[in-house]
């Protein structure tokens, strides 16, 4: 019901930038990082500020930014209408153009029903991450975005071995390599003591095209060696008030 187009990104050290509703003052959330430039602050003038953390619908899992995007689409049901918005986090401001498309009106009616009455389909159980506030670091978050969101690793140009997470480049002839997101289970365990969302399986996946993934299943489904699986993006937690998206495994 819509199209999201990336417009541009501006990088720099942007700490948490807050602009409270009804105020024109930009507040710096973390003074330990570089001072905000006048140009950066100016981008925020006249823009609505919304938080992805307000979008939780009971039993729907961790919607993260998906709920926020849905809200924005619902505000412009007509096809061809556009909305520019910026996401400022982890060291840069990225501007997007959101364009309403066909089906938005019907989607809006359904979304309103869900907002009022709660989720209306059976959902598979997902981990309850409320209150989970593990160690997190804003510089690390910014530095490893490609690793976390695009599964960007490196590959040894001589041996062909894939390294994910990527290793420092010096001393090995490595080149950038992006993991594919489908593969086959090599081994697994169903863990009963991990203190969040269990029991659920941890699986090691031999990925198509090279490299391996070791991580959680998105929910507790039966796994076996040799099974085809794929990786899907999920919200792991909001440690340090940063939404940590990463990948989990589902049957393919």
């Amino acid at each position: 019901m819509g199209v999201l187009r990336f417009q541009r990104a501006q990088s720099g050290w942007f700490p948490d930038l807050w602009r409270l509703a009804g105020s024109s003052q930009v507040i710096i959330g973390d003074r330990s990082l570089a001072p905000v430039s006048a140009a950066a602050a100016a981008q925020w003038e006249g823009m609505a500020v919304a938080s992805a953390t307000g979008w939780e619908i009971e039993r729907a899992g961790n919607l993260g930014a998906a709920g926020l995007l849905a809200m924005m689409l619902l505000e412009m049901p007509a096809k061809g209408r556009t909305k520019e918005f910026a996401a400022a986090a982890s060291g840069s401001v990225r501007t997007f153009l959101l364009e309403g498309g066909p089906g938005a009106t019907a989607a809006r009616r359904r979304a309103e029903r869900v907002r009022q009455g709660g989720i209306d389909v059976d959902r598979l159980p997902t981990a309850d991450i409320s209150g989970f506030n593990p160690y997190a670091s804003q510089p690390r978050y910014w530095r490893e975005l490609a690793q976390d969101l695009r599964l960007q690793g490196v590959r040894d140009a001589e041996t062909g071995e894939v390294f994910f997470p990527p290793v420092p480049a010096r001393g090995r002839p490595v080149e950038p390599f992006r993991l594919q997101r489908r593969g086959r289970i090599l081994t697994y365990t169903r863990d009963h003591v991990y203190p969040l969302g269990g029991p659920m399986s941890m699986v090691v996946v031999e990925l198509d095209g090279g490299g391996r993934f070791y991580g959680q299943t998105a929910w507790d489904f039966p796994v076996e060696i040799g099974m085809r699986v794929r990786l899907v993006p999920r919200l792991l937690h909001r440690g340090g008030d940063l939404p940590h998206y990463f990948w989990k495994v589902v049957a393919d």
């Binding site: 081994t187 365990t189 863990d191 009963h192 003591v193 659920m200 031999e206 070791y214 940590h244």
Partner: protein, 394 residues
């Protein structure tokens, strides 16, 4: 190599291992140090330097975060103390550090102490909490220590047709051995049925496939061979010492080259130690073994990586009873990590004390008849570090 054959163990002591609420980290450290010094028949003043192994000082308020803890626990000031940490190999890393100093001529007599106070917090607030809360914010989530080794159990059972009953044999064997070890955390026998029916931890591992969470300390006094021959009541020689580090903690289980059927770190550490000790046929030339049975599967893999069995045949060695006290190669007659428990920094040092006792005929009801040469092995993290020591009667 300078250490091999030139550095001696001249005294050793292990505290009780268990839930020791009445004793602090410093109390355990002190008890182990004094015990080893008395066993060596020397005064504390004769010890010139100390190495301290504590891997998880945060469980005890960071008291053991540096060598300073030794100066507080015993009258050791102002002598040099180095705190070492290499995951679960830390206890042997302390012995290795002391041995290198002696081999280099920096000192004649040194002490290696491993100490860990894990039960000032509950087991769930210990390593499980650390892995969930304090580790890498994305790569590490979902992991637990048993979960990481369970991956190898799943793969090994699939590859070689072994079963959870085979894993249970390790627990039954080591708990039976521990009935002869008054220092072990658990000292009662277990049946195979109890092991198989225990609650699951990380499948196929259940409660009794896992080492418990334990307090404890152990210490070893080392000296040059010349000093030992002149002064020691009893001594054994470090005939080979191998340390191998193969990868990063979080990275290892992502590596394409890892087959989940054993640990290259152990194989390399063993290669180094055997080469120094002149061992070409470990199954014949080693009389007694302490190896890192943090989980039942790990002992089976260790016997293969240490060269006692071919890949896939470690389980046959176990089924045949070869690794039981009385068999051809007794493994973990102390009860191992399975029954002694695993105060992380103390485990490696405890193993060295056990082998020292075995090859000097001082192992009492656990004595392996005519043991002259023994091996101690620890494995760190998810298997990325391994240390192997061959210790022999002079």
């Amino acid at each position: 190599m300078p250490i091999a054959g030139e550095v001696a163990i001249v005294g050793g002591y292990t505290t009780a291992f268990g839930v020791l609420h009445d004793r602090s980290y410093l109390d355990l450290l002190a008890e182990a140090a004094w015990g080893a010094v008395e066993d060596a028949g020397i005064a504390l003043d004769e010890v010139e330097a100390a190495w301290l192994a504590t891997a998880e000082p945060w469980t005890a308020g960071l008291v053991g975060d540096s060598g300073a803890a030794v100066a507080e626990a015993i009258p050791f000031a102002p002598r040099p103390v180095t705190r070492v940490s290499n995951f679960c190999t830390s206890g042997m890393e302390a012995v290795r550090g002391a041995a290198m100093a002696i081999a280099a001529g920096e000192c004649q007599v040194a002490i290696a102490i491993g100490a860990e106070k894990m039960r000032d917090v509950t087991p769930r607030n210990s390593l499980i909490a650390k892995t969930a809360e304090h580790t890498h914010p994305t790569i590490a989530k979902g992991r637990t220590a048993p979960g990481q080794f369970a991956l190898l159990a799943t793969r090994y059972l699939h590859a070689y047709g072994a079963t959870p009953e085979d894993l249970a044999l390790v627990a039954v064997k080591n708990h039976a051995h521990a009935t002869r070890n008054p220092k072990a955390h658990f000292r009662h026998p277990l049946t195979k049925e109890q092991v198989l029916s225990a609650p699951r931890i990380a499948e196929p591992l259940g409660v009794y496939d896992c080492t418990p969470t334990t307090d404890g300390a152990a210490a070893v006094v080392l000296a040059s061979r010349a000093w030992a021959e002149a002064h020691a009541r009893r001594h054994a020689l470090l005939e080979g010492v191998g340390l191998a580090v193969t990868d990063g903690y979080f990275a290892n289980l992502f590596r394409e080259s890892f087959d989940f059927l054993g640990f290259p770190s152990t194989r390399q550490a063993a290669r180094l130690a055997y080469s120094q000790a002149g061992i070409t046929n470990p199954l014949q030339e080693i009389d007694v073994v302490e190896c890192h049975d943090c989980f039942t599967i790990t002992e089976i893999l260790n016997t293969e990586d240490l060269g006692f069995a071919l890949p896939g045949e470690g389980v046959e060695l176990l089924r045949a009873g070869a690794t039981t006290l009385g068999g051809s190669l007794p493994v973990n007659v102390s009860g191992g990590l399975q029954a002694c428990g695993h105060p992380v920094g103390a485990t490696g040092t405890r193993m060295v004390v056990e082998i020292f006792d075995q090859v000097t005929g001082a192992a009492g009801p656990r004595q392996v008849a005519q043991a002259r040469r023994g091996l101690a092995h620890t494995l760190g993290g998810p298997g990325v570090i391994a240390c192997v020591m061959v210790i022999g009667a002079p």
